[in-house]
Symmetry: C2
Subunit: 369 residues, 2 copies
């Protein structure tokens, strides 16, 4: 019988995620599986919580990886907090803000949105105006819009919300591990991320963090969380305390991978990791400029790890991406929604953010175009 | 910095899951990560669907692994089908039947239950009587009750439901890969499983299969599925068709592992795999009898892969399990719910079901007791 796994090529992953994975993280995945209640495994769980708290700059006790991909983190954030008719404000300037709106609406929230042009950031003054008109239970924003490459003003929105009753909910799927996040200082109450972006671990887990205020809101719900799998009130009892109560079987080997991925970031040093992302972003942006390829997003709010570029006139969108993949073993991403066919998305996330990858891509693009 | 992954010991996993993992499956996990829309990866996705269909004996097009552990499969099954007030009958004789009741109730189903003593099977005549009194949208049962070691009469209940409008929903988390499942022949409409039991892949994925009747029920919903992450109407568009639409980033490396785990079962041969489970179960049961340790479940409905045994008089439940783990690197499971402190659960799932493991456990138990 043919085994398809023998044909897997090594691809330089320069799309919107997954990103390249360090060999030691791949090795970690293949360590011997332990039981989900084994004391040695519980030590690893405890260590992961501490690693996440350190990198997010938070004291939140409820800081754990959920057993699903980044989108399950979004689901976790809303399903644990939203009850029928709760007023929620969602700030939208890309696909992932829209996804938040869909997730919250399905759960019965009364969703208001503020929308901003794709490729531009959320405007803080407009948020301020909206907050002066209505009290919201939740205000939600995406830190790094993976669909456009825009960094939203998360600390500034947090400052607006200080002292209010609103729960501040932030999508950090693409930002975590690539740019600084100071969860407590910025007043974030709920944050979720994914492993396959700047953490450079394969997809499959979603780190989340909930403040005491958010945990209190969960405890004071009138109705049960309408999602057994993601119910934090039960999951806490597996991740915390002296006796760990079985909820569901944790994805053991994926958690080994996350531990190792976080270990590498802490070993390199948080500051050095962010600098590496920025340095390689600048190297890429300059190199692309030399090829006549322009960035979509204004420099003031550009993400280092997700570079949206205008497809040069005359270039065949799918053809170029396909040639990069087939002839150069490089993956880059297509545009989504209104930006489909107009932009490419070039990721420099985690282990991908290295000069040799930037140079490889620039050389390949030069040859193709 | 200390790295906890260096301390991971190889444990013989003889509990209720996770089970031992073949080295080639661990190797598969550490293959180079591909993009979730890479044509080579889509080939692997297509192959996994075919592997699952072959082993489940089904033509169901919607046969895919969900991006979460077995419990996310249970959530998927109910959340896609249940709407407010839908009448659901759940047959309960252990923890996982109770979990179904909780999951369905949270989603607003009108749940009736038939309960049977833990350690005994569902009684088909009682189900027949219940079905004659009321029309149900869903009838749900656990094939292999992991909490007790009982095999429920899934084909017989399916025969009762033939020709009715009810959707027949079966939990095959522990049965799939260890005993035969003939999905189409038995009239099952919705089935979910987990990877970490008899498929012998680490935890993290949940294979599911939905019949045409179940898919039609999803298409005819009045309300949106109140769970974006598990909404099959969207997920289908990623797993089927010529253009694969991004929904969430699939857990790439875990899917490599599942592919390899299913590959091994197909290579060994389905019949040989089931026989290996039964042979090792008999070897264990006989060896335990020699030690004066008795099975909880009657021979007529005993599962080969999950052996519940009475804790011998005078033996210290936690002490024995701890000695097995620390001194012999063997994990077995404790009892749950009303059976806590009364039974041990000895798993012979997938790669664990080998004579050398049975002999190792028997020898260790003999020494400790």
């Amino acid at each position: 019988m043919e085994n398809l796994l023998n044909n897997i090529e090594e691809i330089t992953l320069m799309g919107p995620g997954p990103s390249c994975v360090d060999p030691s993280v791949l090795d970690a995945l293949s360590k011997s599986t332990l039981g989900h209640l084994d004391p040695s495994f519980i030590k690893i769980m405890d260590a992961i919580k501490e690693q996440l708290k350190t990198l997010l700059h938070t004291e939140n006790q409820l800081t754990i990886p959920m057993s699903g991909t980044g989108s399950s983190g979004m689901e976790t954030a809303f399903v644990n907090l939203v009850e029928q008719g709760d007023p929620v404000l969602i700030l939208i300037n890309g696909v992932f803000g829209m996804r938040m709106q869909d997730v919250a609406s399905r759960l019965g929230a009364d969703v208001d949105t503020l929308e901003f042009e794709w490729g531009t950031p959320v405007v803080v003054d407009e948020v301020k105006a909206a907050l002066s008109k209505k009290d919201y239970k939740i205000v939600a924003v995406v830190h790094a819009e993976t669909s456009t490459g825009v960094k939203n003003p998360v600390p500034e929105i947090g400052a607006l919300l200080k002292g209010s009753n609103a729960i501040y909910l932030v999508d950090a799927v693409t930002s975590f591990g690539g740019i600084e996040i100071r969860l407590d200082e910025w007043g974030i109450d709920v944050l979720y991320s994914g492993t396959q972006k700047c953490l450079s671990c394969p997809p499959g887990l979603s780190p989340v963090s909930f403040s005491e205020k958010a945990v209190d809101a969960i405890k004071n719900r009138q109705s049960k969380v309408p999602n057994w799998y993601l119910d934090l009130a039960m999951i806490i009892n597996y991740w915390e305390g002296a006796t760990r109560a079985y909820h569901h079987t944790a994805p053991i080997n994926m958690l080994y991978g996350l531990y190792q991925a976080l270990y590498l970031i802490l070993e390199e040093g948080e500051g050095a990791v962010y600098k590496r992302h920025m340095d390689n972003h600048l190297l890429l942006a300059n190199g692309l400029a030399d090829l006549g390829i322009n960035m979509l997003v204004d420099e003031s709010c550009r993400l280092p790890m997700l570079n949206s570029v205008h497809i040069p006139e005359g270039a065949d969108d799918a053809g170029v991406r396909s040639a990069l993949l087939k002839d150069h073993q490089i993956e880059i991403g297509a545009g989504l929604g209104p930006l489909a066919g107009k932009i490419w998305r070039i990721g420099l996330m985690g282990h991908t953010a290295r000069p040799e990858n930037v140079e490889k891509l620039l050389g390949a693009l030069k040859g193709i175009l």
